[in-house]
């Protein structure tokens, strides 16, 4: 699903990623662990080009996304991203947060289709043989209603349907993060990228967020998680990448990494955090 080939990223003189090569297959749940400054967040953020890599290739669904000409917005719609600091839109209610992107994009597509039809009709005026119009199977109201329904269903799933019309500033960290997750889900992404989703949470709220991520994993969502929650990584991941100094030092099944790490750096790191 995602192939990464010799990915490098430098900030000035600092080499953050020194050549990452790996491949993410559909259905995999990949946990990226490692000390801070090892480049794990940078690597994750390169996957949907929140950071522009310095060199290397990222192939998503058979298309290179590093290329300047690539429609990065179209790719990002298929890659949900969850941030450490939630980043809910502060000027929108919870429901608006979830509905904004799907509604905007669907309305834009509808508008484009309508313009194309208008153009075709205009051209048809001067043609004997009429060109066919694009069928339009939806309307503005229908798009909004459907998005609303989806959003409410997602909110119900996380038990926050009563918060639909409040602003994010009134929510707890755990609630914000769960809403951020369903906001990403509302786009029907093919893969979810989690950038330390529980690092900014109070300890008692970590559980509710991890539970939701675990549910998604059980449903078969492909996901990449940068995390410091070793227990969670071990339990949920199908593969663990240990990163250090801009390299993937070890790439293995969770049982192997956590019980029998081969590389001395991995052993040292795990002995400190476990």
């Amino acid at each position: 699903m995602i192939d990464v080939i010799d990915l490098k990223k430098t900030y000035g003189k600092l080499d953050v990623l020194k050549g990452i090569t790996t491949s993410i297959k559909p259905g995999e749940k990949i946990a990226i662990i490692g000390p801070s400054g090892s480049g794990k967040s940078t690597f994750l953020r390169c996957l949907n080009r929140m950071e522009d890599p310095t060199s290397g290739l990222i192939i998503f669904n058979g298309q290179g996304i590093i290329d300047r000409k690539a429609d990065i917005d179209a790719h990002r719609r298929q890659m949900g991203m969850v941030f450490q600091h939630f980043n809910l839109f502060n000027n929108k209610t919870v429901l608006e947060n979830i509905m904004l992107a799907p509604v905007y994009l669907a309305l834009r597509d509808l508008r484009r289709l309508k313009w194309r039809n208008r153009l075709t009709r205009l051209r048809n005026l001067f043609r004997g043989e009429k060109l066919p119009l694009h069928p339009i199977g939806t309307s503005k109201a229908q798009i909004k209603a459907e998005a609303r329904e989806t959003a409410l269903r997602l909110l119900k799933r996380i038990g926050l349907e009563d918060k639909a019309h409040v602003y994010p500033s009134t929510l707890s960290g755990g609630q914000k993060q769960r809403i951020a997750i369903v906001r990403a889900l509302a786009m029907n992404p093919k893969v979810m990228l989690f950038d330390e989703p529980t690092s900014a949470l109070d300890p008692e709220m970590v559980g509710e967020v991890l539970d939701l991520i675990r549910q998604l994993a059980d449903e078969g969502m492909t996901m990449v998680i940068v995390t410091h929650e070793m227990g969670f990584a071990r339990e949920v991941a199908t593969r663990v990448l240990f990163m250090d100094g801009g390299h993937i030092v070890e790439d293995d099944a969770p049982e192997r990494i956590f019980t029998n790490p081969r590389h001395p750096r991995t052993q040292e790191f795990l002995s400190k955090v476990l």
Binding site: N48, M50, D73, A74, H75, R76, R77, M79, G80, M81, F83, H85, N87, L88, F89, N90, N91, K92, T93, L100, A101, Y104, L105, Y167, P168, S169, T170, A180, R183, A184, M187
Partner: protein, 236 residues
């Protein structure tokens, strides 16, 4: 102060019996018109400039536009508004051969002038919005422009309403120089009353009071606006 009553009487006479109040109302209308329309133009152009200035400068065109905006802001902040009015009315208009009423020229000049200040206010406002907001929008597949207009700018505007209010109040007061190009504002009206009654004490006093009242009303409107924009804040 013994003859203050007499002065008041002179003022009343010109103000009411010689249609002074018509001039004052026209002047008031023009003052408000120039300030409000000027601010509207200022916000429009200022936001545009601010967005150009905070956008990533990753190609030649973006760099050129940015340079142009810096030059524009420097130009309008670097000269007094009176000079700008005079140059616009007596230099630019004849040069390009257009004939515009003084009032329209004032609106345009005040708008362009205000745009320079608003752009800096707005730029600060945009930079004060958490970069995570932009990232979240982009990560959902919205493009830079849409995220800017739907997410970042509304939050920036909310943050800068008090400062923008300040700009509006300055604008109201600065309009008192438009008589330099012959537009009829409050000053022109009260000067007319003073000249006709040979007595300037009361007219200028009343003028000052009207400006104070105007600014007080503006401050009230700004406070209401601030309050209604605070909806999404915890500070209800």
């Amino acid at each position: 102060m013994g003859n203050f009553d007499k002065k008041l009487e002179r003022f009343r006479e010109i103000f009411i019996e010689h249609d002074g109040y018509v001039k004052v109302l026209t002047g008031l209308q023009n003052t408000i018109y120039i300030a409000v329309a000027g601010l509207a133009i200022g916000i429009l152009i200022g936001t545009l400039i601010a967005i150009i200035r905070v956008s990533p400068k990753n190609n030649g065109l973006a760099k050129m536009l940015d340079g142009l905006c810096v030059f524009y802001v420097g130009l309008f902040r670097g000269t007094p508004i009176v000079v700008q009015l005079l140059v616009a009315y007596y230099v630019m208009l004849p040069l390009i051969g257009v004939n515009l009423p003084a009032l329209q020229v004032c609106v345009i000049v005040f708008g362009l002038n205000s745009a320079a200040y608003v752009s800096e206010i707005m730029r600060g406002g945009i930079l004060s919005v958490d970069p995570g907001q932009m990232e979240a929008g982009r990560a959902l597949g919205l493009n830079y422009r849409v995220t800017m207009m739907k997410i970042v700018v509304p939050q920036a505007v909310k943050n800068i309403v008090p400062t923008l209010g300040n700009e509006f109040i300055s604008l109201i007061k600065e309009t008192s120089v438009v008589s330099f190009v012959g537009a009829a504002d409050l000053y022109v009206a009260f000067n007319y009353i003073g000249s006709n009654s040979y007595e300037f004490m009361v007219p200028y006093l009343v003028m000052a009071l009207i400006y104070i009242a105007l600014v007080a009303v503006a401050a009230l409107i700004i406070r209401q606006l601030e309050r209604s924009l605070r909806k999404s804040d915890r500070r209800h």
